[in-house]
């Protein structure tokens, strides 16, 4: 425990680095995954190849994934970001599709019958109603990414994994413990914060999931 108090600046800095790594990756995965998920609901035959592909990516062990990417993107945070982004895609794409598919048929039929264009249907009806489900996917992806990002320290991506791997190398159990504790705290706080945010969005979205 002492490392935490002896080196608070370093711990703080590495925690920020960790958050940045996870944040950028999940954000990128959201920006890619939500549109891809929407596309899958529009062009239905795309769904299974895309889900299969992102499912396969998800099963590659993280160290192997880094090894595959290093020849192209080198060591460092960018390789880690790419890997984390690809890992996060599955949960986000899958939940986007599920969220949109969950919109009741009668609601969609009414939207069409009212004379909404495809775009209006998407932005006024489907996405708002799918947001709670999409957000749950983002939350799952974030939790996974916080864990995987620890390992990314081996390829020089920084973050809390640094404390663990440096500690292991120098036989500094205190430092390992500090890294592990902070990663756990980050996951717990992150989960709680995202859950709160998700609940707020759900209320905004008119509690679509309950009221049908």
């Amino acid at each position: 425990m002492f490392y935490l108090f002896e080196q608070p600046e370093r711990v703080f800095e590495l925690t920020l680095e960790h958050i940045r790594l996870v944040g950028i990756s999940v954000l990128a995965a959201t920006l890619i995954g939500v549109p891809v998920g929407i596309l899958c609901t529009r062009i239905r035959w795309l769904e299974s190849p895309i889900l299969n592909l992102s499912g396969i990516l998800y099963t590659i062990p993280s160290l192997a994934f880094f090894a595959i990417l290093i020849p192209y993107t080198g060591l460092g945070a960018s390789t880690a970001t790419i890997a984390l982004t690809l890992y996060s895609l599955l949960a986000i794409i899958r939940n986007t599709i599920a969220g949109i598919d969950d919109v009741p048929r009668a609601t969609l039929d009414a939207a069409r019958g009212m004379g909404m264009t495809g775009r209006q249907r998407l932005f006024l009806v489907e996405l708002p109603l799918a947001i709670p489900v999409i957000f749950a996917g983002i939350r799952v992806a974030t939790m996974a990414a916080i864990g995987i990002a620890v390992i990314a320290a081996v390829i020089g991506a920084g973050g809390l994994g640094r404390l663990i791997f440096d500690g292991l190398r120098t036989l500094d159990a205190d430092q390992v413990l500090a890294g592990a504790i902070m990663a756990t705290v980050l996951a717990l706080v992150g989960d709680w914060a995202l859950k709160r945010l998700g609940d707020a969005l759900r209320r905004d979205a008119g509690a679509a999931a309950e009221g049908r």
């Binding site: 009741p104 009668a106 609601t107 039929d109 009414a110 939207a111 069409r112 019958g113 009212m114 004379g115 909404m116 264009t117 209006q120 006024l124 009806v125 708002p128 109603l129 979205a205 008119g206 509690a207 679509a208 309950e210 009221g211 049908r212």
Partner: protein, 354 residues
């Protein structure tokens, strides 16, 4: 502005058919259907489940493609119209309500005005106006969400939403099918009141014969994708096109269905030579009431009776035989009817098409 919005609208279907292609083969859902919906009239499409009512209706606003034949509105082929513009000009009410769960009641009502680009304040004002029209005080309901409403209230919102942009045409697919019988009755009465006020061209799908007789200016009876009979409620009672019609009207042929058919609808014009001393009945009487009324008159040596119109002139005529056929019995003595069944309908005057 598009010709769709020009006042009242006339819908025609000419030899319309519909195939659904499914993996297990092609289904002929609608077969050679032709009818006209007069401007400002309410036409009921009725028939057993699966008879093609919904499909027929959905081809009008092009929620289904038309396989064969033509549908026109005010003479324009619906396929030549922009589909989005077409749908915005046609109010649409469905059974499960189909309200947007994440919109407030007011926002639900104002959906089409919003799509049409009305400014916010005008949308709000219109929504409140319509909520009041359908019997939901805006102060109390405008800012609620659909899940905070009962089934019947949701259906009222559905009706208000269909009226919001003041479309000349409204399509309603079993709009009151999912609510309890008492609420349904109430909603039906209110639709009649609203229709008397707004005079829309309405196509109304139902499988409830009582509802059809209560609401329909004309009834199109369908079976297996085809039209079996297209006529006024009185036509269906007086001249059923086939045993199927009689059977479909079935038990309801009795008092319930007839309560919403009025003597004036049934009566033919007064032939020459009818003496003035035959009984005269008000055209506003329902058929069962007329039966009851006549049981009190002396019918000896008379073949029929006169029916007075709104101005009180005895210009219509009906034989006892005709009335008895429609009633499905000989004219009954007064005590066979309970007072509840015979109670005059307070809104009868509203719908009397004279």
């Amino acid at each position: 502005m598009s010709p769709l919005w020009a006042g009242v609208s006339l819908i025609t279907l000419e030899h319309v058919s519909k195939n659904f292609d499914s993996p297990s083969g092609s289904v002929r859902a609608v077969e050679d259907v032709s009818f006209e919906v007069d401007a400002g009239a309410l036409h009921v499409l009725i028939g057993p489940s699966g008879s093609g009512k919904t499909t027929t209706m959905r081809m009008i606003n092009r929620l289904e493609t038309i396989s064969e034949g033509t549908i026109t509105i005010n003479g324009r082929d619906v396929r030549d119209l922009d589909v989005v513009e077409l749908r915005r000009a046609i109010g649409y009410v469905i059974q499960q309500g189909g309200l947007f769960p994440h919109f407030t009641v007011a926002d639900n009502v104002a959906v089409v005005p919003r799509l049409l680009g009305w400014p916010r304040a005008r949308r709000r004002q219109r929504a409140e106006e319509l909520l009041a029209l359908v019997g939901l005080p805006p102060k109390q309901f405008a800012d609620r969400f659909p899940r905070q409403l009962s089934g019947g209230q949701q259906q009222r919102v559905g009706v208000a939403r269909a009226l919001a942009a003041d479309p000349p045409i409204i399509l309603m697919d079993e709009p009151f099918g999912a609510v309890d019988p008492i609420t349904r009755k109430q909603l039906q009465r209110e639709l009649r009141r609203i229709q008397a006020e707004v005079q829309k061209t309405i196509v109304f799908v139902t499988h409830d014969i009582g509802e059809a007789f209560l609401l329909g200016d004309r009834i199109v009876l369908m079976a297996e994708g085809r039209i079996v009979q297209n006529g006024t409620p009185a036509d269906l009672l007086r001249n059923p096109a086939s045993p199927f019609v009689t059977e479909f009207i079935g038990e309801d042929r009795s008092l319930r269905a007839l309560q919403h058919t009025y003597l004036a609808e049934l009566a033919g014009s007064r032939p020459d030579g009818v003496p003035d001393d035959v009984p005269i009945l008000a055209g506003t009487l329902s058929i069962p009431q007329a039966g009851q009324e006549l049981a009190r008159h002396d019918r000896s040596n008379r073949e029929g009776f006169l029916v007075s119109d709104v101005s009180g002139r005895p210009s219509g005529y009906l034989t006892y035989q005709q009335l008895a056929t429609v009633l499905g019995e000989s004219i009954a003595p007064a005590e066979t009817m309970t007072s509840a069944e015979a109670a005059p309908d307070p809104e009868a005057a509203h719908v009397l098409p004279v």
